[in-house]
């Protein structure tokens, strides 16, 4: 197979005409053909569109009119991102034949940056119900071991990036759906600040918790994708109207001077993480100290408080979106989605109001905790990916989520690979920053990745 490239590496080679976007796209299509019958990361491959995009990019590069670092870079979109003229199914029977008339804003912006669209990626049904085996398409599988789970809901993106089928892709994150697959698939995934990336044209799960964002092999690649996706959009009522910074500006600045807080009780008491995960966090903290950062312990409310607030809001808002179809076509949803969301019909109005009152208090708490801290460190998942056939139906409710505190508060957070566990699968750390401080977040994540050699290891099946 063709060698793996990050977006940054491919961009450099394309810019110097050492790499042809068409050949890069053909290599990705060949990899998809070889590996995706096992991984099921794609719902739909769009080779004609991809090759047309690649030829156009190549023409721009050869004529000196390249658009920037994403020109000619093969990506794909989670199948809740609307794509004009191309089915957008949400991995659900309900939308099996739905063809949007327009692109989601971020799909359009990534296309305008010159990316090559390889197709649409698997998701948990409507970004919530998975891993499911009773849907029109099978669930994505983990390239590090296809018998294992990818996490979700941006499951196809996680698997496809890790296996090198795409160089980057889009995801959405309502309770951890970017950072979970990034963690279990051993890649990077950033959930930016609420409002930084438009949600217009992306199928909703829960309006006040939904975030769009990229997944890629490295934090640097996430920065490049985020650059194209971020920005104000009048079509999204929650879109932040503020200047978009250069997310790559501080990537080379290292960690010197950063003030790092570690939320140790999250992964030691609230949801005890595996030994490999805890070792990864402690090693990361040592590396940050060695680079000149300071580290202190930060205490927040128990993770279960964030979890209860976030999940109650999530299932109630999701129920509001899906109630008509739950009543008219309950059996057309997969069991996991319909049973989880149906519970939202039992939430009283007063319970939802108490959850959003509590949400404000948790936001206040997070703001105070980060007043003198630049980066918060915790786990992204409790450990390695479990076997896909052994994921309990109520797993998302049984233990508090490491990722949902940053959906509840809207703070930006990234998951990056921090090593491998006993089973040979990846483990991860999660870094978070203050709102709209993605530049600092990506700086810290990049510094960490550069200080380790985890980015040099790829899944054996894709080698």
């Amino acid at each position: 197979m063709a060698p793996f490239l990050t977006i940054a590496e491919a961009a450099r080679q394309i810019a110097t005409k050492k790499l042809s976007p068409v050949e890069l796209t053909e290599a990705c299509l060949a990899r998809i053909e070889a590996l995706d019958p096992t991984l099921h990361s794609f719902i739909r491959v769009t080779p004609d569109r991809a090759l047309a995009d690649a030829r156009a990019a190549e023409q721009r590069v050869m004529s000196g009119a390249a658009k920037g670092p994403l020109d000619g870079i093969p990506i794909a979109h989670k199948d809740i991102y609307g794509t004009a003229g191309i089915p957008t199914t949400a991995h659900s029977k309900h939308l099996e034949t739905f063809i949007p008339k327009r692109d989601a804003t971020s799909v359009r912006k990534l296309a305008e940056a010159g990316t090559v669209m390889l197709g649409k990626l698997s998701t948990h049904e409507f970004a919530f119900g998975g891993p499911s085996f009773d849907l029109p398409w099978p669930p994505a599988r983990n390239p590090w071991n296809p018998d294992h789970f990818t996490a979700g809901s941006s499951s196809g993106t996680g698997a496809a990036v890790a296996a090198g089928l795409i160089l980057g892709g889009t995801g959405s994150d309502t309770g951890g759906s970017i950072r979970g697959p990034a963690a279990l698939c051993g890649i990077a995934g950033i959930k930016p600040t609420y409002g930084l990336i438009s949600r217009a044209g992306i199928l909703p799960l829960a309006f006040t918790l939904d975030h769009a964002g990229p997944l890629a092999w490295t934090a640097e690649d996430c920065a490049l994708l985020l650059q194209a996706m971020a920005g104000h959009d009048a079509d999204d009522p929650a879109s932040a109207d503020r200047k978009v910074p250069d997310f790559t500006a501080d990537l080379g600045a290292g960690a010197k001077g950063l003030r790092i807080g570690v939320v140790r009780h999250f992964f030691e008491q609230d949801n005890p993480a595996s030994e490999a995960t805890r070792k990864g966090i402690d090693t990361a903290l040592d590396l940050f100290r060695g680079m000149g950062a300071t580290v202190k312990e930060v205490t927040l409310s128990p993770m279960a408080e964030y979890h209860a607030c976030g999940f109650l809001i999530m299932i109630t808002e999701a129920y509001a979106v899906h109630e008509p179809w739950l009543k008219s076509g309950f059996g057309d949803y997969g069991e996991l989605f319909r049973d989880r969301v149906a519970l939202g019909g039992l939430v009283r109005g007063v319970d939802y109001v108490q959850a959003i009152r509590r949400r404000r208090l948790l936001c206040d708490e997070m703001r105070a905790a980060m007043a003198d801290v630049d980066i918060l460190v915790s786990a992204a998942q409790a450990g390695e990916a479990p076997p896909i056939a052994e994921v309990p139906k109520w797993a998302t409710l049984a233990k508090p989520s490491f990722t949902i505190p940053f959906n509840v508060t809207g703070y930006p957070a990234i998951s990056v690979c921090s090593g491998f566990g006993e089973g040979g699968l990846p483990v991860a750390i999660q870094l978070a920053a203050r709102p709209f401080e993605e530049v600092t977040l990506l700086r810290a994540a990049h510094a960490y990745e550069r200080a380790t050699d985890w980015r040099n290891r790829r899944p054996a099946m894709a080698a």
């Binding site: 006040t208 319909r338 208090l361 709102p435």
Partner: protein
Amino acid sequence: MKPSISPETFKTLMAQTGIPLSDAQLAGIYEGYGYLESLVARVNAPLPREAEPALTFSTETK
């Protein structure tokens, strides 16, 4: 997590949603009701009277 109410009471509760459900489908959702009860109990723990809801959610930037 075991729900605090019986399957029969749960059936009555679910009927209020208007979703037509078979007994097997009801049983599938009933399993998760105990988790919902624990979430509801947590968010209903006493709050300061003046605690305002995050009605129009926006990220704090101060």
